[in-house]
Structure formats: structure tokens, C-alpha cells
């Protein structure tokens, strides 16, 4: 431990940020710059939502408009009934929330169960079945739209949100993610729980799940984002405007004559809020991590 003379500033920085503060500052700036570029589309969305129609596509891009034109929001949300046309955006918002939250809850639950089974329970046919699961991810979903529609029609489900929710609560990618997560947890933990007399189910619920919280949070965010922004499925399976979700509602701003970007971006910006909320909630779980579990030895 050399005691060389250092300036006060230096020491202060060291104390605040640790010994490698130089590296920290450099990286923060660099990566911060990259992160900033990532926010550009959102910034554009917000700025476009405040512009008049023709100014949206004007180049060079006018990041901060000379005026603020909140009328787009009034138009989209039909505040005070003043809009020229009722886009039923609030209803679409509600529908999206309903469908997405249900799918998230269901998918996280079933994936965690199934992922655990694939990871830890050595039942016969495990590998083959898992490969089958993976295989189903590899067919582009566009091609299965029509058969799915026929099945829904046979089950008389067409024209309800069930067409989105039922497939949505079974997630194959979720199963995959949770499997990987559980495989990282040492077998000994499961063994010790079983030796203590817990059933498989209790082991899962009381020992494993708490340790998997951070992956579950990731999964919740993923499913939320996918379902929230899903376009093709609602397009085909929700024929009635009363059922439509936000991506479809965004379509109301598209017509043969072109796209009304100013309105669409006002709508899309409003749709960002739940995603942010979801992320912030999930983020806490992500950081809390797996230390809640029982790690022996």
C-alpha cells in the first residue's frame, strides 16, 4: 500500500466510484453515447406526435418543432368528443391491456412449470419432446394463420379475445428461457429439497421459483412486448373494431391515400407508457436476483 500524494479531487473520485474510476468514466461516456442513439426513434415518435401532418416527413429532421401541436392527441383520444372521427383508441388500449396482461400471467406461469420439468425432472422422452418444442418455433407464423383460423372457427372462438389469449398463454420461447434458467441452478439444491421430503411440486414452488425470479421477470417483459406489439394475429382473428388492440388501431391511420403519421405517432407514443411501466417493475425483480433462494454450502 503505497502512500503517494494524490490531489483531493482524485481521492474524492476514488472514494465515490472505486479504484477503477477512470475506466468507469470512459465506459459510461462511450456506452452512454450508444444508449442515446437507441432512444432516437422514441424521441422522433414524440416529436412527430406534436407536429402537423406535412411537417412530419420534412427533411432535415426537425427534432424540436417550433410549435407544439397537442391537437393530435385530442384527435386520437377523442378528448371531449372533438375529434373528426372516433378512432376508439381508448377501447383499443383497454383491449390491449387485457389481452397482454392475461397472456403475460399465463405464459410466465406455464413456462416456469414446463421449463422446470424439462430442466430437472428426468422423465423419458424429455429431450425429444423439447426438440419438438423448439422445432415449432421454426415455422414462420404467417403460414399457420389460416389453419389456426379454421381451428378457431371450428371451436367457435372467432370474434373474441380468446383467439389471442389461448395461444398466448402457452409460450414455447418462454419454456426455453426458463429451462435454461433452471439448468443453471445446481442439482444439489433440488436434491436437498427432495431429501427433506418435499414433493416435486413443492420443490418447484417454494425452492426453485424464488430462485428464478429474475428470469421470470425477463420473460414477463418479453411476452409483454411481443403481445403488445403483435399485429398479424389480431388483424386476422379480431374482425370487429370493438375487439381491436393497439397495433390494429394504429392501422386506422393508414389508408390508400397514405399514412397519417402525425396521428399514428400520437397514438403510438401513448402506447409506450405501459411498456415502460412493465419494464421498470420487472427491472426491480431482475436486480433482486436469485439470492432469495436457499443456497446451501
Amino acid at each position: 500500500m503505497n502512500r503517494t500524494k494524490r490531489t483531493g479531487f482524485d481521492t474524492a473520485l476514488k472514494r465515490r466510484f472505486g479504484r477503477d474510476y477512470k475506466a468507469k468514466i470512459v465506459f459510461t461516456v462511450l456506452i452512454g453515447a450508444i444508449a442515446l442513439t437507441m432512444t432516437v426513434p422514441i424521441l422522433w415518435m414524440l416529436s412527430a406526435s406534436m407536429k402537423k401532418a406535412l411537417d412530419v416527413t420534412k427533411l432535415p429532421i426537425d427534432w424540436i418543432p417550433d410549435y407544439f401541436y397537442p391537437d393530435n392527441y385530442v384527435e386520437v383520444w377523442n378528448i371531449g368528443g372533438k375529434a373528426r372521427r372516433n378512432y376508439h383508441f381508448a377501447l383499443a388500449y383497454f383491449n390491449s391491456l387485457k389481452v397482454t396482461l392475461t397472456c403475460v400471467a399465463g405464459a410466465v406461469l406455464t413456462s416456469t412449470m414446463t421449463g422446470y420439468a424439462f430442466a430437472k425432472i428426468k422423465f423419458r422422452g424429455r429431450n425429444v419432446l423439447f426438440l419438438l418444442y423448439l422445432a415449432t418455433m421454426m415455422i414462420p407464423s404467417q403460414i399457420t394463420i389460416i389453419p389456426k383460423f379454421v381451428i378457431f372457427d371450428a371451436l367457435k372462438l372467432v370474434g373474441s379475445h380468446k383467439t389471442l389469449i389461448l395461444p398466448g398463454i402457452f409460450s414455447i420461447t418462454g419454456t426455453f428461457l426458463m429451462r435454461q434458467c433452471f439448468m443453471q441452478i445446481p442439482d444439489e439444491i433440488r436434491e436437498s429439497a427432495r431429501v427433506d421430503g418435499a414433493s416435486e411440486f413443492r420443490t418447484w414452488l417454494q425452492v426453485m421459483v424464488p430462485m428464478a425470479k429474475s428470469s421470470m421477470a425477463s420473460l414477463a417483459i418479453i411476452i409483454f412486448l411481443w403481445t403488445w406489439n403483435d399485429y398479424l394475429n389480431p388483424l386476422v382473428f379480431l374482425p370487429n373494431w370493438r375487439l381491436q388492440t393497439i397495433p390494429l388501431a394504429l392501422n386506422s391511420f393508414v389508408s390508400e391515400a397514405g399514412t397519417e403519421y402525425h396521428l399514428m405517432m400520437a397514438a403510438a407514443s401513448s402506447a409506450l407508457i405501459p411498456m415502460f411501466v412493465m419494464f421498470i417493475i420487472g427491472q426491480k425483480q431482475l436486480i433482486k436476483g436469485i439470492t432469495a433462494g436457499a443456497v446451501k454450502g
Binding site: 442515446l36 412449470m113 414446463t114
Partner: protein, 300 residues
């Protein structure tokens, strides 16, 4: 251990438990995923046009599978898809790995940074596509930047036959990195700090710790990301559709866009299904290779 009358074999009990856990998920997947996929397999052997209604088709054997190899549109889309995947996946994963570790170790203000990285994923695809179209335009920042470093006559990016695909690849990497980072971040939370401390005491350098501890520990996550990203890259559709529509010419036409066009533009559902199955076979092969390889480099 008395009372062995009703004791089922241990393996059988394990099996039952396993399948019980599996049941809800499997039942749903069967109905809504597996059966439609099997239907599409049947279609691929017919000349079905979906407007004719279910069942109104003629079987044509392997004709669809044979025809596609003389179809220039199919071949072009195949080439583009392979190029696209081979570029996007390794770069995204590598960047995500490095960035997550760096942010975790070094950055101040982690939450806003992570949130920012995920922003492209939040935004509607349309918004991302439009913004990038503008960024790539003659007045946009990309062109300005290229001019600034001295290039005289920058290409027209999305309207250029040679540059359109790389331009789209860049956009995909840019928008997917944040997502992969999120996955890595949650895995990083689970790294055993004791081992790192032990390595510090032994005097290991940062790079050493990275390669010998971090990378192997994160290998299950890397495996997951590799597989899911390959699968989704092979199936890219919406982004390209909105940004270039497959143009100029054929240069950004990918397999799913051609499948979609055949099924719903030309009404050739049978042919489209056959192409989808070829796509599936390709992905499956790649995944199988990965799966078998996982024993060697993925450490559980």
C-alpha cells in the same frame, strides 16, 4: 420401507410428474401450434388457394418442392436470408455480451442505460422503420456522418442495390442488442461473486476473468440467445417490409416475405407452405448442430 404394494417404479413416477408439469402447456401448444403446423405440411403437397376453402385442393406430390429451386425469387430470398442471419446473429450476441458486462462493471447510471438500450424494442416497428428511413436519407445523419469522414459521393443506402441489405442489417443489430442485453443482464446477476473474488486474490486480470469465468458461466444464456436469434433472423419479415418492401429489386427480399407474397398475394398457399417447410428444415438443421455441440461448450 414396508408397503411396497402400490409402489410404481421410480422412473415411472418421475415420468408422470414430468408430464403433469408439462400438461397445460403441452395441451395448448398441441391445439394452437402443432396442429396448424401439421396442416401446413399437408398443404405443401397440394395446390391449394386458401380462398377456395378448407379441403378444396388437389394433391400434387412433390411438385412444389421441386419448382422452388428454379424459382429465381425463391433463390434470391434464400441467399438474402442466409446473408442476413450470418451477419446479424454473431454481431448482436457478441455486442450484447460485451456491453452487458461493461455496463454491469463500469457504468454509472445502469438503469437508465439499460432502459435506453431496450427502447428500440418498445417502439412500434413502424416508428423504428420510418426513423431509420429518414436517417438513411440524403439529409439524414448517416449520410452526413459518412460525408464528414471524407467520402465524396455517399451511396443512397436503402435505394442502392448493394447497400440496402447491409443498411437493414445494421438496423436489426441496433434494435436487437438491447433485448439480448436484457437477457444477459439477468443472467449476470446470478454469477457467483466468490469465484471472482478468489480470482482477484490470485491476481487475475480483467480480461482473464472475462474469458475464463464470465463467458463459460454465461454459456447457457449464450446458447439460448444463439438459438432464438437464429430462428428469428431466419424469419425476419416486418422490419424489411416496412423499410424497403423487399427492394430495390430483389436485394432485400427475404424468405418470409416471399412466402407471404406467394400465399396472400399470388394465392399459392400450397407453394408457400412448401417453402416454409424448407425454411423450417434449414433452421432445424442449424439448431440440431448447435444442440449437439452444446455438450462441448455449454457448461451447466
Amino acid at each position: 420401507m414396508k408397503n411396497r404394494r402400490f409402489r410404481l417404479s421410480r422412473q415411472l413416477r418421475t415420468d408422470i410428474t414430468g408430464y403433469a408439469f408439462l400438461l397445460p402447456n403441452f395441451a395448448g401448444c398441441l391445439t394452437f401450434t402443432i396442429i396448424p403446423i401439421l396442416c401446413s405440411l399437408v398443404f405443401s403437397f397440394t395446390d391449394w388457394e386458401y380462398t377456395r376453402g378448407f379441403g378444396n385442393w388437389n394433391f400434387v406430390g412433390l411438385k412444389n418442392y421441386i419448382d422452388m429451386w428454379t424459382d429465381e425469387w425463391f433463390l434470391a430470398s434464400l441467399k438474402n436470408t442466409l446473408l442476413y442471419t450470418a451477419s446479424v446473429v454473431p454481431v448482436t450476441i457478441l455486442l450484447a455480451l460485451i456491453l452487458s458486462v461493461l455496463i454491469d462493471k463500469y457504468c454509472i447510471g445502469k438503469l437508465p442505460m439499460r432502459l435506453a438500450m431496450l427502447m428500440p424494442y418498445f417502439s412500434s416497428t413502424v416508428a423504428v422503420a420510418i426513423v431509420w428511413v429518414m436517417m438513411y436519407s440524403s439529409f439524414g445523419p448517416v449520410t452526413q456522418l459518412v460525408k464528414w469522414i471524407g467520402v465524396e459521393n455517399p451511396p443512397k443506402w436503402l435505394a442502392d442495390y448493394h447497400w440496402a441489405l447491409p443498411a437493414v442489417i445494421l438496423v436489426t443489430i441496433w434494435s436487437t442488442v438491447g433485448f439480448a442485453m436484457m437477457i444477459y443482464t439477468s443472467a449476470i446477476q446470478g454469477l457467483p461473486t466468490e469465484l471472482y473474488e478468489a480470482a482477484d486474490i490470485d491476481g487475475a486480470s480483467e480480461l482473464d476473468k472475462f474469458f475464463k469465468l464470465t463467458v463459460p458461466f454465461l454459456s447457457p444464456t449464450t446458447f439460448y440467445l444463439l438459438i432464438t436469434n437464429i430462428i428469428s433472423s431466419f424469419q425476419v419479415f416486418t422490419t424489411i417490409q416496412v423499410m424497403t418492401g423487399g427492394g430495390p429489386g430483389n436485394s432485400t427480399s427475404v424468405m418470409v416475405s416471399y412466402i407471404y407474397r406467394s400465399a396472400f398475394g399470388y394465392y399459392k398457399m400450397g407453394y408457400a407452405s412448401a417453402m416454409a417447410w424448407i425454411l423450417f428444415l434449414m433452421i432445424f438443421l442449424v439448431t440440431l448442430i448447435q444442440w449437439n455441440g452444446q455438450k462441448r461448450w455449454v457448461g451447466y
